[in-house]
């Protein structure tokens, strides 16, 4: 059973990766919004936002990485929706394929596609002057946190992918995810925000994740925040996974 799951997942992963290779625009589109935000905030608002120590691009990149993932997973939902509405999902379901493989193929594709988009965004940031003295361990920690965040949002995206009635419904779900970083420490420090906004910004998941990545890049101690970040990601991941599986099993015998 488990070897079948592995084999079937690999076959389905290869299939969706082919989709991406044949329309690389999905990866580029995923990266365009975050890159535009990076350019806008660094070159237009950068000086007014943060005159002082450090480059603003260094401050901004962690939040932009999260926005990249948030916009990337909308394609995950879209790809799944296309399968479900097009009928090929039913074909797969009526075939002797390991049940988990159908979703894991899409989830792993999402991870690969997001990593490529993230690499593009980091490359642009480096061209704009982003520098980090982080060592290999700090980089690996960054990748780990971003990967966990990607998995959490991907499983969240599986839910609209399976349930949406229209393409609009699919793409709509990611907007709140893309805008969540704006009310966090991603663009400006939360200290200057008015009371209730500050309270929200300091207690929503994006802030500890952004701060953790930022500290890792800046070679500063990550403190408690890394655990809060991991707890948020793991929590969202587990809840989204359970819900997605429940929806999936309701769709199948």
């Amino acid at each position: 059973m488990s070897t079948n799951t592995f084999h079937d997942t690999a076959v389905l992963l290869k299939r969706s990766l082919r989709h991406i290779l044949r329309s690389p625009d999905t990866i580029i589109t995923t990266a365009i919004t975050p890159i535009a935000l990076l350019l806008l905030f660094v070159y237009v608002f950068g000086d007014s936002i943060r005159s002082g120590h450090g480059r603003y691009v260094n401050y901004l990149l962690p939040g932009i990485l999260l926005i990249t993932v948030a916009s990337g997973v909308s394609y995950t939902a879209f790809r799944l929706f296309t399968d479900v509405s097009g009928g090929i999902f039913e074909r797969f379901q009526s075939m002797p394929i390991a049940r988990p493989a159908l979703l894991w193929g899409h989830v792993l594709t999402s991870v690969v596609a997001n990593l490529v988009s993230l690499a593009l965004v980091v490359a642009v940031a480096v061209a704009m002057g982003f520098r980090s003295g982080a060592g290999i361990r700090a980089w690996l920690a960054v990748v780990g946190v971003v990967l966990l965040f990607t998995l959490a949002l991907t499983w969240l995206a599986v839910i609209p992918g399976l349930t949406a009635k229209s393409v609009d419904g699919v793409s709509g779900f990611s907007y709140p995810l893309i805008f969540l970083p704006f009310v966090s420490s991603a663009f400006v420090p939360t200290g200057g925000m008015p009371g209730p906004v500050r309270a929200f910004a300091q207690h929503q998941p994006v802030t500890p994740i952004v701060n953790t990545i930022r500290h890792l890049y800046a070679q500063q101690p990550v403190g408690n925040e890394v655990w809060i970040a991991i707890a948020w990601c793991t929590g969202v991941l587990l809840i989204a996974y359970v819900f997605a599986m429940r929806v999936y099993h309701r769709k199948t015998v």
Binding site: R18, R91, S94, M95, P96
Partner: protein, 260 residues
């Protein structure tokens, strides 16, 4: 009646909320026969096929396919069947060859490439093998769809309205394919709303109406019954078809040999 039934359906029920779709369906299908399930839109044909192909759970009753219970042994049922749904379930981004290889790999067959090669030839898709399916015509899509269903030679084949939305030429192509299959011993349960289709293909015909099988028998047996009102409308189609075909020409598909 000596052969074991390939499909046994007893007292099968299914409702969506308050709306009863299947109200106790009973049907037996012998191995190696083509049975047409005839019914108007909303009669419950697709629901029945989805239950038998493990995509839906029945509320009550029993469905047995190839000796396996659809509710308790879905994995074994999936090993025994292939479903060709109402809309061609093909991957439009992949090429025809890749679609076939994908299914062969998912069925854990070796020689995916050779299997794809054979089926492409058999369904006259060799020339289009390396093209994206998005560029295929409706008839080609359907042929590819059915070709994908044949991989692994499952003993039971469900064809849910295989010719709905197809032009007359493609329709005849599909008919020919189904006849060839039956010649090889595959059990085919075909749903259709076209009487001429049932007449042309099926050895036995079952009429599903308001969630129940109201008539089941051979064509000769059915002809002794008064036709339901829908028949009148549908029976005119062959005439129109003949007109259409005589204008566009018959040659394209009378020569559709199936190279083996």
């Amino acid at each position: 009646m000596t052969t074991t039934p390939a499909i046994e359906i007893a007292e099968l029920t299914k409702s969506y909320g308050d709306r009863e779709v299947l109200g106790g369906v009973d049907l037996q299908i012998s191995s190696g026969t083509i049975v047409a399930l005839l019914g108007s839109n909303g009669a419950g044909k697709t629901t029945l096929v989805k239950i038998l192909s493990t995509l839906l759970k029945a509320d009550g009753g029993r469905g047995v396919v190839n000796g396996y219970d659809v509710a308790t042994q879905p994995a074994q049922v999936r090993e025994s069947i292939s479903l060709t749904g109402q809309f061609a379930a093909v991957d439009e981004v992949l090429t025809g060859r890749e679609n076939l290889e994908l299914v062969a790999q998912l069925r854990h067959l070796e020689n995916a490439r050779a299997i794809a090669h054979d089926l492409l030839a058999r369904f006259e898709l060799t020339d289009a093998a390396e093209r994206k399916v998005a560029t295929y015509s409706g008839g080609m899509c359907r042929r590819l769809d059915i070709a994908m269903s044949l991989i692994g030679s499952p003993p039971v084949l469900f064809l849910d309205e295989p010719t709905t939305g197809l032009d007359p030429q493609s329709r005849l192509e599909v008919w020919k394919t189904v006849r060839d299959l039956a010649g090889q011993g595959t059990t085919v349960l075909l749903t259709t709303q076209y009487l001429d289709e049932a007449e042309a293909l099926a050895e036995r015909i079952a009429i599903l109406h308001r969630g129940r099988i109201i008539v089941e028998g051979t064509l000769a047996e059915l002809k002794q019954l008064l036709p339901p009102p829908t028949v009148e409308y549908i029976e005119k189609q062959p005439t129109l078809e003949e007109v259409f075909l005589s204008i566009v020409g018959h040659d394209d598909f009378t020569e559709l040999g199936v190279p083996r």
